[in-house]
Structure formats: C-alpha cells, structure tokens
Amino acid sequence: MRALKILIVDDSAMMRALIKRAVKLTDLDIGELYEAENGRRALDVLDTRQVDAVLTDINMPEMNGVELLREIVRRGVTDLVKVVVSTDGSAARRDEVRDLGVTAYIDKPFAPEIIRDVLIQCHPSVVR
C-alpha cells in the first residue's frame, strides 16, 4: 500500500494548519498533503493530483463543502474517501452529506487523535 495522499479543504489557514498537524502527529503512512481554501480550489487539486482522501469544511466562500461533495459525486469519482470536518454538527447536515458518500463526520473542535481514528476507519491499510 502506498502512502495516503490527503487534500485538506478549509478557508481558514489556521484550521488547515491544525488538521495538517493532527495528520502528521499520527504514526500512519501519510504521503503528500494538499491544501485548498474552498471547494473550487479543491476541484483544481483533484483535477491535477492523485488524492486518496479529502477532509473538507462545510462553511466556505465561493464553493462550500456540500457543493464540493455534490460536484465530486456528479463527476462519478468513487475511489476517494470523503470526510467532513465542520462546526456544523447538526443531524440534518449529517444526513445531507451522508447521502453524498461521506464516510466520517468530525465535529470542530476535535481532539487530534480523532483524525487518526477516522483515517484508520476509512483506510485500514494506512497503519504502518
């Protein structure tokens, strides 16, 4: 199994740094970490890079996380793990993104070890 390539999508540079730090703190087999500040930029990355998992916020300007997930589904991308990392933990929002193939939903604020648990849950072979 090659190292897991992850795309982090959040309009806050601080939050991207926090998620990145949490990912690096894991002892998992992690490859490239890509960043995007909204859904539109995330699609640009997905067009040009091979990505195994996307961790996306919901509330972002230009193209939000739900719109990004809808576009990924519309394009028929199936080999991508989709995880939401958001402050919006409402049941209605969870139901909405579950229908878009999201496999895990992480509430902000989160404990760093949650990132590790979710990555293992979504990609068991990532354990070294």
Partner: protein
C-alpha cells in the same frame, strides 16, 4: 421603522456559548479556559472599552438568526497565534496580522457552530464568514459573558434578530 428587532441572549444561551467557546479554546488552541467572576468581568469591560481588542463576529441564519461576537485582547490573540504557529511569544518574531485575524475569526466560527449545533441539533444553520476587526469595546452591546483564557478576560456576546422562524 425597522421590522427586525434585536433580542439579547438569555443567561442560558450565554452559558451554552461559554461552554462551547471553552471547549474550542482548550481542544483546538491548547489554552486553559474558565468562566470569570463578576470582578474580573467588570475589569475586563473597562479594559476593552479603553483598548483596541480584536472583535470577531459570526452572523447566522436558521430557525433562529443573529450574530455571535467575541472580544480577544491583543496580547492574548498574539500569544495564542504564536503558540499555534510554534513560535516563541517572547522572541522578537512578529506574528503576521492576517494570522492573528484568522485565528480569532476561527475561534468565533467554531464556538458559534458548536453552540448552535447543541442548541438545535435537528436544524441546519447557515454561518457567514467571520468578520474580524480592531475595534474599541462597545458598551451598548451585550450582555457580555467573560471567560478567562490563560487568565486573560475574553468576551462573548450573542444577539438574535427577530423571532423564531
């Protein structure tokens, strides 16, 4: 005459917001948070009104609409940003203003979203992008709840607009 009216948050609402903000400060920004007593709160208001703290406001729409604001004194905002970025706060290294604003805005965003989710778990709220500015304290807003973050008074306020939809 304006058709919308401002409704100040109840003490129960503020208490929930304080809890959400404390969790954000501790889990995401590695700070220690505790509610302030009335003396500390009064002192904080005086300092904010005389200073130029960072003020971050997040507007929200949903079954209830309104806005949450947080007031973070400059020294604390820079200290938290330095710690977050792994810099030595005592050193001469200057923390970029955009990084400080981003951090304060994200604190407000996370506290607001987390609080609203606990308030109305079955409902969806739309949150606006955080607006961050350097402003003198506004004594007309409030009531303010005060939380000590690493011992420094930090303010929280919520106002609802109109009634429930």
């Amino acid at each position: 005459m304006s058709l919308s009216s401002v409704i100040r948050a109840s003490s129960a609402d503020l208490s929930g917001l304080v809890g959400a903000f404390g969790a954000v400060a501790e889990r995401s920004f590695f700070a220690f948070a505790e509610p302030a007593d009335s003396v500390a709160s009064e002192t904080a208001m005086t300092e904010w009104l005389g200073g130029e703290p960072y003020v971050a406001t997040v507007s929200f729409r949903g079954p209830r609409s309104g806005a949450v604001s947080i007031v973070v004194p400059e020294t604390l905002a820079r200290e938290l940003t330095s710690a977050f970025l792994g810099l030595d706060f005592e050193s001469e290294a200057e923390v970029e203003e955009t990084a400080v604003c981003d951090l304060v805005g994200e604190m407000a965003n996370m506290a607001t979203g987390s609080w609203l989710s606990s308030l109305e778990a079955e409902q969806v709220f739309e949150l606006a992008h955080p607006e961050v500015s350097r402003a003198q304290g506004n004594s007309e807003r409030g009531p303010w709840a005060v939380v000590l973050v690493n011992g420094t008074p930090t303010g929280l306020c919520c106002e609802f607009t109109g009634g429930r939809s």
